[in-house]
């Protein structure tokens, strides 16, 4: 239950107007800090929700695929240049961001991840890295200003950080082919 408290604290903190102002004034922080932190809020409060509604998660998201799809849809949605602009200019979209990222991305992510098979996890990670490379490329190579609220230089910076995120995921994927975590866990318990 401690996690719920931390989750809610983080949620409230992110909702403070000055925090919103700072986290949305720089494009990279908006996409690669505020948004992931909102997902983390959802991740932290998942155990609480699961203890309250155990049947909901076990019947509707038994093998984790519906939840994972929902997670991907929400993540891709917030990568569209327009949604980032409108989160700043349209209040309803901003509210949707604060609801969708914790509850429709963070919660299903935590609920689904451990239900996935090793292969399923690899597929998701591959998808994510491909998405990040595409989005990164889009922001780096676009000759036009994609977001009206951000400068082109910031757009390029965001593109590169997305590409690096993809690289990070790819490195993780490759190491997971050679290093088997379960072997270490077994060694620990012995």
């Amino acid at each position: 239950m401690r996690q719920v408290k931390y989750g809610l604290l983080l949620y409230l903190f992110l909702m403070l107007p000055p925090v919103i102002h700072v986290s949305e004034s720089i494009m990279v922080i908006h996409m690669h800090m505020q948004m992931p932190l909102l997902v983390i809020v959802g991740i932290l409060i998942t155990p609480f929700l699961k203890s309250r509604f155990p049947n909901f998660f076990s019947t509707w998201n038994k093998n984790g695929i519906p939840g994972m799809l929902l997670f991907l849809i929400i993540v891709i949605y917030w990568m569209i240049p327009r949604t980032m602009d409108e989160a700043i200019t349209v209040t309803e979209i901003e509210i949707f961001k604060f609801i969708s990222l914790p509850f429709l991305a963070g919660v299903p992510l935590r609920d689904s991840w451990n239900k996935l098979t090793k292969r399923g996890k690899n597929i998701i990670l591959t998808c994510l890295s491909v998405i990040y490379v595409i989005v990164g490329g889009l922001y780096v190579f676009s000759p036009a200003q994609l977001c009206n609220n951000y400068l082109v230089a910031e757009q390029k910076a965001l593109g590169w950080t997305s590409v690096f995120t993809a690289l990070g995921i790819i490195v993780f994927l490759i190491q997971s082919l050679f290093i088997h975590e379960d072997e270490f866990e077994e060694a620990d318990t012995v």
């Binding site: 019947t59 509707w60 695929i65 519906p66 799809l69 929902l70 849809i73 327009r82 994609l146 009206n148």
Partner: protein, 211 residues
């Protein structure tokens, strides 16, 4: 058998939700950036040119009524801009030259409006006129001194201007065509001068036949 069915339903619901979300979020898969959404919105709304006092490179002051009964092709610039604006103005000059002479001045007027009235005084506007070879009559360089009036206009036409750290501005650029009643009718891609000229020409000849 019951449980896997629920899961299939869940997958379908998620897909449906995703479809609706993206459909609404992009105006039916048409607008992926706020800029395209803005253009779609402007073409629907057709906002009116607000009441402002323009000051041109000859030091004349007038409101937008000066151009009543004529189409006005306009752009938003600032003269110290080194990247987009010169390109925008060169392209505007290209459009200007492609419109048959008989329309210029009588049916259509070209207008460049500066959103940096602090630095763009009459002298700067004059320099800018000479630089682009405008005649200061059928293509006028103007500024709006009153900051509130300027902001009203930028808001109405959806122009977003952000100061950058080096004393310049980042701003969205386009050709705006205002009809003889003062309503915005077209927002055109400033990089496609031929297309814009053809469009303006068609509108002008259509108007001529109508009269």
């Amino acid at each position: 058998m019951k449980k896997p069915q629920k899961q299939t339903i869940a997958i379908l619901i998620v897909f449906l939700f995703g479809f609706v979300l993206f459909f609404i979020g992009t105006d039916g898969f048409k607008a992926y950036t706020a800029e395209t959404a803005r253009l779609l919105q402007l073409e629907k709304e057709r906002p009116e040119f607000p009441q402002v006092t323009l000051e041109d490179s000859k030091g004349r002051n007038y409101t937008f009524n000066e151009f009543a009964g004529k189409y006005v092709m306009l752009t938003f610039v600032y003269t110290e801009c080194t990247d987009v604006c010169p390109q925008l103005e060169m392209n505007l000059a290209e459009v200007y030259n492609q419109i048959p002479k008989e329309y210029i001045g009588t049916d259509i007027v070209f207008l460049s409006i500066s959103f940096d009235p602090d630095r763009d005084d009459i002298e700067a506007l004059q320099k800018y006129s000479h630089f682009f070879n405008s005649d200061e009559e059928t293509w006028r360089m103007t500024r709006i001194e009153d900051k509130q009036e300027l902001q009203n206009l930028l808001d109405a036409f959806g122009v977003i201007v952000i100061p950058d750290n080096s004393g310049g501005f980042t701003h969205n650029s386009a050709f705006y065509l205002v009809d003889p009643e003062g309503k915005l009718v077209e927002v055109m891609d400033y990089t496609k001068t031929k297309e814009a000229a053809t469009k303006v020409h068609t509108i002008l000849t259509g108007e001529g036949e109508g009269m």
